[in-house]
Amino acid sequence: MTRATPTRIEMTMEVNGAVRTLVVEPRTTLVDALREDLGLVGTRHGCDEGVCGACIVLVDGEPVLACLMFAAQAYGREVTTIEGLALPGALHPVQEAFVAAGATGCGYCTSGLVMLTAGALAREPEIAEDGLARLAAGNLCRCNGYGPILSAIRAARAAAVTAAE
């Protein structure tokens, strides 16, 4: 923290590979900072209380509910959003798996599910079968597209296991 005042904090974090400096209110959540200050609107507002998973981003590689972290807490951290998961013009293997499985209904929950899956497989490429449903259960898809979503996560796991070998 370079400077702190009662109302505003100047902070720096790395977002999708670029160092960004923001001036935020302490109460600004990470999802608001990403969407409103940085224009990264691929991270969605869902419930804003940590139960839907639409706002998941990676912080230092781990999936985080961006509605339950204040932006100030990400000071000095490395944040990855759906916009920066793959190189420009390319798709991450998890994104490819979601496309191939048709695992997008209206698409609102998709970025959160993709970031969750990418973060979970980076921690543990060989998630057991019952663990996959448990993983997806933390994210709400109101199109109820969990069949294709599970197929996509399964395919992403296969790709992650192959990549790890």
Binding site: P26, E49, G53, E62, C67, L68, F70, A72, G119, G138
Partner: protein, 295 residues
């Protein structure tokens, strides 16, 4: 909705955190994992004027075992219990409970001590603290260090015996002997949501009979608590389906839940019987690698 405005503090040590608490009293709240406090703040159910983010405090993640007790530090996350916080049944028990909790992002951030300080009656870790006889270590600049037993620590829904300037700096849980059997049961509307009812059963079984039986339920009343009358029904008896059924039925009759939009009080009593029954059943399944003596 946005949280009410607050000043943000990121102390580098527990002592510094305690000084900030001492300066601001009931205006300040500790932010650990934030998975319960932040939604409460966003909904304006909590409006601290000062938020003390302890996540930058170093060396507060790793547990230790001293004199037969597991010591859980303030930044030990739910996920850290997956690998086993201690050898033997206590580590396995806490690992299973952590796996039941919420979703992966919540498990990665949420802390054990934070769960206890938040004191949600449905928290599996709150239930474990009550059933396993945990000691809460609270620190403040004014009183120094004091210990509170779990039974006295949890005083109501989201309420504890912590004073405004105190921080829960450690939780100590006695290790469990290798003869220990345990089982956990939970029912919820969503796999990743808060359970509606939980039960934890712990006992020793060196021979046929169960001894030192402890049975606790959570999620149905203001605090998780033990059921001494059910414990007496099981003490020095051998496990059987009939005994377990009787104990589970008795447990449901002993709680006094409030009905709400989810279900009636009677339905919640039935849930308690169901989760106690499941916990008892699970206790007879020998965990792999836990007991070489009894195949």
């Amino acid at each position: 909705m946005k949280a009410a405005a607050f000043d943000y503090h990121a102390p580098a040590s527990i002592d510094e955190a305690l000084r900030i608490l001492a300066a601001h009293g009931d205006e300040a709240r500790i932010l650990a994992g934030g998975q319960s406090l932040v939604p409460a703040m966003t909904a304006r159910l909590a409006r601290p004027a000062h938020l003390v983010d302890i996540n930058r405090i170093a060396h507060a993640e790793l547990p230790t075992v001293v004199a037969g007790r597991l010591r859980i530090p303030p930044l030990m996350r739910h996920i850290d219990f997956e690998v086993g916080a201690a050898d033997g049944p206590l580590g396995a028990l806490l690992a299973e409970l952590s796996g039941h909790m919420a979703s992966l992002p919540v498990r990665l951030r949420g802390t054990f001590c934070g769960s206890l300080a938040h004191a949600d009656p449905a928290s599996a870790f709150v239930l474990a603290a009550v059933v396993l006889g945990a000691d809460m270590v609270a620190r403040s600049t004014r009183r120094g260090v004091r210990n509170m037993a779990a039974g006295a620590f949890f005083t109501g829904i989201l309420a504890t015996g912590l004073a405004d300037d105190e921080m829960l700096t450690e939780v100590q849980i006695p290790l469990l002997s290798r003869w220990t059997r345990w089982g956990f049961g939970a029912v919820g509307l969503r796999a990743a949501g808060w359970p509606l009812a939980t039960a934890l059963v712990v006992y020793e079984r060196a021979e046929d009979d169960m001894t030192g039986v402890r049975v606790g339920v959570g999620g149905v009343e203001a605090t998780a608590h033990r059921l001494p009358a059910v414990e007496r029904m099981l003490e020095r008896r051998a496990p059987s389906r009939r005994l377990f059924r009787e104990a589970a039925d008795a447990a449901g009759a002993m709680v006094d839940p409030a009905g709400d939009h989810v279900g009636t009080a009677q339905w919640r009593r039935d849930l308690v019987s169901a989760v106690v029954g499941r916990a008892l059943e699970a206790s007879t399944a020998v965990p792999v690698g836990q007991d070489p003596e009894r195949p």
